[in-house]
Symmetry: C2
């Protein structure tokens, strides 16, 4: 049920002193050599650990991951990069690896220098405490204002996948960051790891929204060490792909459910679009609409706002195709707007889930998105911090 | 100071019974023939009055505008279009015009049929009460949950421009709508009216954001009747363009200041971008960032969020160009992030204005945007309505 669920992985989480009392430094490694892949934020402003980890990944197969919370090491210039490199170097030294085999992830305050001495000292403890049962400790050490640790695992026929993530917790003076580390004992080549990870992320971490923001630090890492000794076939590849997707989707859902101020989980399903891409653009637009999200917070099946959001979705520089007269909108399974006209039905939305289905009636394009609502709590956590 | 500021325009605002007690139907007309132009929402879901007014504008020069509040006449199908047409027909009859010379604007609840009998009866009163001092009455009749009427005017050398607008007021089960009617006695041809209006709107109504939503009903109308009798020249054209822009900018600023739950006016100025288009994309991204807007509500000069928003701005399908090391961010005139490094300064932001300047240091592209903050009040007005 954790990042150490797969064979041959160890982890630890320690208190390095970056946060006052909570654990703040996690280490994950494969005992034997591994391959890996990672996907990084597309923000033009990229944190030092993102820059350094990209470089490392281009140079060598990764075998370990260091994650610190409290300080994002973003907008910290050349000193920030040197601090991220020094972190990787020290971890490599302690684990008998090359620095390029260590990926470094950070989350926390932007613009504050990484307290490097504390990180380096903490790494010694973290390396000493590595164990195959250390997944839960690691999962706690990467949190910020998340209210609980996020872990997931899946067991296939002869292999396992495990992972941990942190979600949308506000860190002053900064922003939410999404980090995830997923491990498997399934045997993969490096290029394969990348392809499997991209496919899994597209329908999990890339299909969620808490507030539509894109952080300087977002990173998802996959390490694969082949420790299962499995003989691969087409069938096992399919099973592995499904297991990896299940773990990523589970972690993604946990992130949304624990989003800042979240009280309602919005599940948005768009069907009947001209293309999958246009369906995704519409689903994303609905998922990031403040008016839809405040309506969800108010348990209001407000189809007018859904229509207006869908009608303003852009895809490839134009508007996503949509014919108002063909639209059907359902809330929690009840059609409230049926092929261009109000149905007169008003479903109760008193639970913690709000499923919005939009059928465009145009083609076979479809997409799904998960989102949190927009509540007083979101405003509170993001406004009531002062410099 | 109103939509009747220019010579030869009359207006009225009456209670047609669409709202319980407040005035809800406005009429504006030029006494003599006029030309006009209008810009409409780009939302794919367009209200019936938008469809009908576009058709009218293509067929004839407009001379009058009817605006009702309370009911948006959107997502109402063929019946909705017939109701909008009937409204234009009755107004034309009362004013001695062709139906195509009357533009119809609506704002209010989506998906509810327009109470046509009330509108038609109200039009008789509105026509009877038309007067050159009726601008203020008209401005009140078009409001929804705006907290006050929005009017502006400008006087040039021999001509006048006047206008009224309504802004972001939540109408259940629906969305904010921006409507504006601007009149002038400056002599213009129809094509010229369109060109002047587009230029003025680009830097006023199109450079503001309350919540990033795009309504089904947004419309801006310009009527020009030439009643000033002015002889035009290049100089008077420049002066008219400036006056028109001043009126539009004034109304736009009033809309943002009176935005739903607004407590802080965000003025965002982006300079040094590679192009004006990229500057605008970055300014818009900052203006619609929930994290920047909650920080403004919390009076927090949170440059980390500004950087992250800027870094994720897209323009023409790619990311707007940006070099983190060249960036400078200022809050209310104090640089907090100076050419890639925190300056250490923390300006107080205790007032009702928050000016964010971002210099990209790349080129000469620039853009400005006005936005409201994201407050508890925004969530309240948009969540605490129930179907």
């Amino acid at each position: 049920m954790s990042v150490t669920a797969a064979q041959g992985f160890e982890a630890s989480g320690v208190h390095a002193g970056l946060r006052k009392a909570a654990p703040d430094l996690a280490l994950v490694r494969s005992v034997e050599s591994a391959v890996g892949a990672a996907l990084f934020t597309v923000n033009r402003v990229q944190a030092a650990p993102v820059v350094v980890s990209k470089r490392a990944l281009a140079a060598a197969d990764p075998q370990a991951v260091v994650v610190n919370s409290a300080v994002a090491n973003a907008a910290t210039g050349a000193d920030g990069e040197r601090a991220a490199e020094a972190t990787a170097e020290r971890a490599a030294e302690l684990l008998g690896l090359e620095p390029e085999q260590v990926l470094v992830l950070s989350t926390g305050v932007i613009g504050v220098p990484l307290p490097l001495a504390k990180v380096l000292a903490g790494l010694e403890t973290a390396a000493a405490e590595l164990s195959s049962s250390g997944g839960a400790s690691a999962a706690h050490a990467i949190l910020t204002t998340d209210t609980h640790a996020k872990q997931a695992s899946a067991v296939g026929d002869g292999f396992s996948v495990g992972g941990m993530a942190k979600g949308a917790g506000m860190i002053h003076p900064c922003l939410a960051t999404m980090l995830a580390v997923v491990t498997t004992d399934y045997p993969l080549g490096a290029d394969e790891a990348d392809a499997f990870l991209r496919a899994a992320v597209a329908e999990s971490f890339n299909a969620i929204s808490v507030d539509g923001e894109c952080s300087t630090n977002d990173t998802v890492v996959l390490l694969a060490n082949g420790a299962s000794g499995l003989d691969r076939s087409y069938e096992t590849d399919v099973a592995f792909g499904e297991a990896l997707h299940a773990v990523c989707a589970d972690l993604a859902r946990q992130i949304v459910t624990d989003g800042e101020g979240a009280t309602v989980l919005l599940e948005i399903d768009v069907a009947g679009a001209a293309t999958d891409g246009e369906a995704q653009a519409i689903a994303r637009r609905i998922a990031t609409s403040p008016l839809v999200k405040t309506a969800a917070f108010g348990h209001d099946p407000n189809w007018g706002r859904v229509l207006a959001a869908a009608g303003s979705a852009t895809s490839n520089g134009g508007f996503a195709r949509l014919e108002p007269d063909l639209l059907t909108v359902s809330f929690n399974g009840t059609a409230v707007f049926d092929r261009g006209a109000p149905s007169g039905s008003v479903p109760a939305l008193d639970g913690a889930a709000c499923r919005i289905e939009l059928d465009l009636g145009l083609g076979s394009g479809q997409a799904s998105y998960l989102a949190s609502d927009l509540s007083y709590g979101y405003v509170r956590v993001n406004a009531e911090y002062h410099t």
